[in-house]
Symmetry: D2
């Protein structure tokens, strides 16, 4: 099977599970500020979805000793694609296992990236069906936009930190058929890679962990679809004591409107204001940025990303016991 053939095998990022030491704060953040709907509670976990997320959940919040990503799951474009991708990973010596699905999703292949992130593939996903009072008049909208906070539409993308970007990138390219749209290089070293399997700028990004740690999360991103909502959200975050790291502004890389904040549990969340650049060309060329235009990479406007956090802070934080043991 050629590279050509596999480039649409992954459909999109379906869900992420995060751990939080402050579940009340984290749930207040996602439900009251970002307007996500709760679809289930089970044990120490709560399942959430944005009003346009198509499935039962896109975010699972689980109480845990330290803020971190538990796992992320990509949906394949067919059941056969799932089998093929699992086989490719196995053939490539990326360890993995099949598990039964959990709430809202079916059979799942779990593997570990070369840097230690827990990533999963699945096909079966239960479509969310809104009860009558939550049905939207807009047929492509899975449920009404809620009246709480500044509601996000859906999950958008995932940004992982890695001690070494290139092997993680290569595994996503080789085994998942994802394509690297843009890269950032620092001399000979790959400092970041942004990958997608559809016309979005990226669904998975991998950035160098300046502290050299393995398998951490940089951020998960949710989608507004309107850059003004990033501005509205910034005002809300400021008023309600959520720490804004940077933005609202627009990245040069991806051309996406961004806003970075820390949810009360400590995980970084990006609000993605619009779709940014959509790559329609089937034979696009990967764009390579260098450190001398890092300012445009990060922001078209006047934002300077805070050095003390943006390139070093990830979850789990390095001073956490869990991370220290790793």
């Amino acid at each position: 099977m050629t590279r050509h053939d596999i480039r649409h095998e992954i459909a999109h990022l379906a869900r992420v599970e995060i751990h939080t030491p402050d579940p009340d704060g984290t749930l207040w953040f996602f439900k009251d500020l970002l307007g996500m709907y709760e679809t289930r509670r089970e044990g120490q976990s709560v399942y959430l979805r944005g009003y346009e997320d198509p499935y039962q959940w896109s975010l699972k919040v689980t109480e845990g000793p330290v803020a971190r990503m538990d796992h992320a799951a990509l949906r394949t474009s067919s059941p056969e694609a799932l089998e093929r991708r699992a086989k490719s990973l196995k053939d490539g010596n990326l360890e993995g296992k099949w598990t039964d699905g959990e709430f809202g999703y079916g059979k799942t292949y779990e593997f570990t990236t070369p840097d230690g992130h827990d990533v999963r593939l699945l096909w079966e996903a239960e479509k969310y069906r809104a009860p009558e009072e939550l049905k939207s008049k807009i047929l492509t909208r899975a449920s009404k936009k809620p009246l709480r906070g500044i509601p996000v539409k859906r999950i958008d993308h995932l940004n992982l930190l890695a001690s070494d970007v290139t092997p993680v990138k290569r595994s996503f390219e080789r085994h998942l058929g994802m394509q690297t749209r843009e890269r950032l290089v620092d001399g000979d070293v790959e400092a970041g890679a942004w990958l997608s399997s559809n016309i979005l700028g990226h669904e998975v990004a991998i950035m160098r962990d300046a502290l050299g740690a393995r398998g951490r999360l940089h951020h998960i991103a949710f989608y507004y679809g309107n850059p003004q909502h990033n501005v509205d959200a910034a005002e809300m975050f400021r008023e309600y004591d959520i720490v804004i790291e940077a933005g609202p502004d627009r990245h040069g890389l991806s051309q996406g409107a961004f806003l970075y904040v820390f949810e009360p549990g400590g995980n970084r969340v990006e609000l993605f204001g619009d779709c940014g650049f959509l790559e329609l060309e089937p034979d696009f060329e990967t764009k390579t940025w260098t450190m001398d235009n890092i300012d445009v990479v990060t922001a078209i406007g006047g934002t300077t990303l805070p050095q003390e956090t943006y390139f070093t802070y990830g979850t789990p934080p390095l001073d956490s016991p869990e991370q220290a043991a790793a």
Copy 2:
């Protein structure tokens, strides 16, 4: 080859050629108001591109006795896909022929839709390379955003009128692998179909011609990527005597921010403010709207589409000699 296999064979809408009886007015509209770059003049034709269009041109303006679409061309996702799609069309008895490319594009397969529209397929497309002074700092941007008017980024989609929607829709589904995302039905009759082969809401739409004419154009759409620019453009059009048909507002169908105007030659042009709903689900269900919610189909806000033009006016206009002879 199964339907599954062909759903990514068409990459995107690459270009449209229109005829205009007022070439000066039409070019002023696209160049001075919509900020498109001229890349070539040849005979009675001028080639234009938006600042993020990836190829040499996305719009060809040709002087002609009557406003109309000459042809539209879709780019396939590989050279093999082009061969396969041409074969499928031939096998399906949709007449066509191979021609040499014209400026900026290669070998082309031209066919006629069941309703008489000239649609073309091609793979070879020359990438636009900006001269130094037009190079953008943003690597995914093929050229600087110009300082004229309210510039569009790129061509977005094509909306065709048809005397009978269903056969045209079926030919795009069967032979081009495009998927129908949303439909409008009027009792048993299909009043409209919106198709795409990527996650965009549509790249080709087909709407019923209320006058029963064959092979006409409803509109071509260009992309802003920011709904505020539709508002800015409306103000510009008002000040510079361009007739606004409807908008700015947001469609319920596609969730796209719209503004409809008539370019001075008479063709309807839509400005598409943002990407609207992106369909990420590989097993999405086609959404079917009925006439009893036509108000939401057309606008989420208060816009009422003008009955006297929106559902009947197309190009060529029915009173034109060219159309009368058809």
Copy 3:
């Protein structure tokens, strides 16, 4: 006292009281959709304020048999200005009386416009002081922006219908010192007048009642301060079954971003997206529009105001018993 001297005697529109036959619906509209805070309940009335309204209330919702404006009140710029304006009204044979204040406001002069509207003047107004949990970090913001609906900042302006515009306009000019910024004339007849006593485009407008009724309300307007919020509100209103009459669009007259809806009780409400044109010139010239540019008067974009309601519907509706008795 010359006209020059009195042009700042009125400071701004402080409050409006409306009647509604559907108090639950009306309160849900203003509190849950427009995010207004309730500051008091008393008898059949509820007092509301937007998060930047400076006083205890800007809107009083009272249960009543028919939708209508009970009264509107303007605040003067000093206690002496209140005395002077009351004297001028009396000297001008506009009947009135002094009353004690009600909740949050002091001594009030009530008079009746030549067309029968109940308008009041007052100076004493109790500043709203937010409790700790509602205090904003932004010092000019009287309370935090709430997390419900798409919240309005404050009351903006008042638009009255009159059987005869000119006498009402003249009484506001002569006795209150307000200035007519823009006018609409239909031949020899004044079809509308927009007045202010500060740099806002208008705080009181008077439009001709096409049905010839006396003393009705056209609309009250609340202020967002961001035109995108009109778009967000339109989407909310559509989803939650509030009838949108027209917009979002921008008026040519006043250059204000507008959206007209009917609150569940039946009163028309305008959402004013931004401040529109601010008149800084002390010797500005009144702008006079004529009916041949009525389209630009009403909208810069493609909106057509619905003839069947915009120019004829007011509250109380003409078929109401209360109005029939008037």
Copy 4:
């Protein structure tokens, strides 16, 4: 004459003259990027106006050895107010003189603030009358919005640096009747004051010069009226190599949407996205901010003002020969 009586004697900021060592660059900036119209050239000076500026010019660009403000002029609200303000200044020992007007303006009273800024008062101002081809359909718009760059509507406000804020503030309060809306204090020292004589947040601001220099300019601000245009302008500045100092973001103080850049000559220019907070209360209380909430003062979003420039850079720069001689 009481304080009450003088609070509307100043109508608004009418014009500013700046010097630039790079007149070609400065004019390209204001004309091609900010879309200002040139109304006259004379000697080493060019007169410019935004498309909604009501007079012949709001900005005069003069070639000079060093970037700086030459003078700013406020328009009074009547000819009598001009006489009264001049007398008050004289009585207050602020030296001044009457001069004849220059292009577009009449008799002028020139005085020097306690910190050395050249500020002028005038009443006579020639209204700009657009030629037929530049007439706008919108009657409150003095001329059509041009098709060049991202055009500003009009001049908005002036921000002066002072070695000692308080005396300058007091002179504007006492002699010009301007009111201090917001203040920033650093312990016992006034670090900034924002003054207005209408409902705008400020027309003149005075900020402490961290370098202790006298009589410098911090920035002049131009008005867009739409915060999205600040974002559009930032993208334009980035593409066309204009240095962005900070923004787009929104100040907590004034609630104005800001973007700071340096024009090619070196003067700081602010683009003011919308009107921010409008002070309608005649008996408003001055809001006093302290250094512990300086982050909200400067930005509601994530912007950090660059310490190395924002609080120290002004024009003339301190290393300029002109300044060294002062």
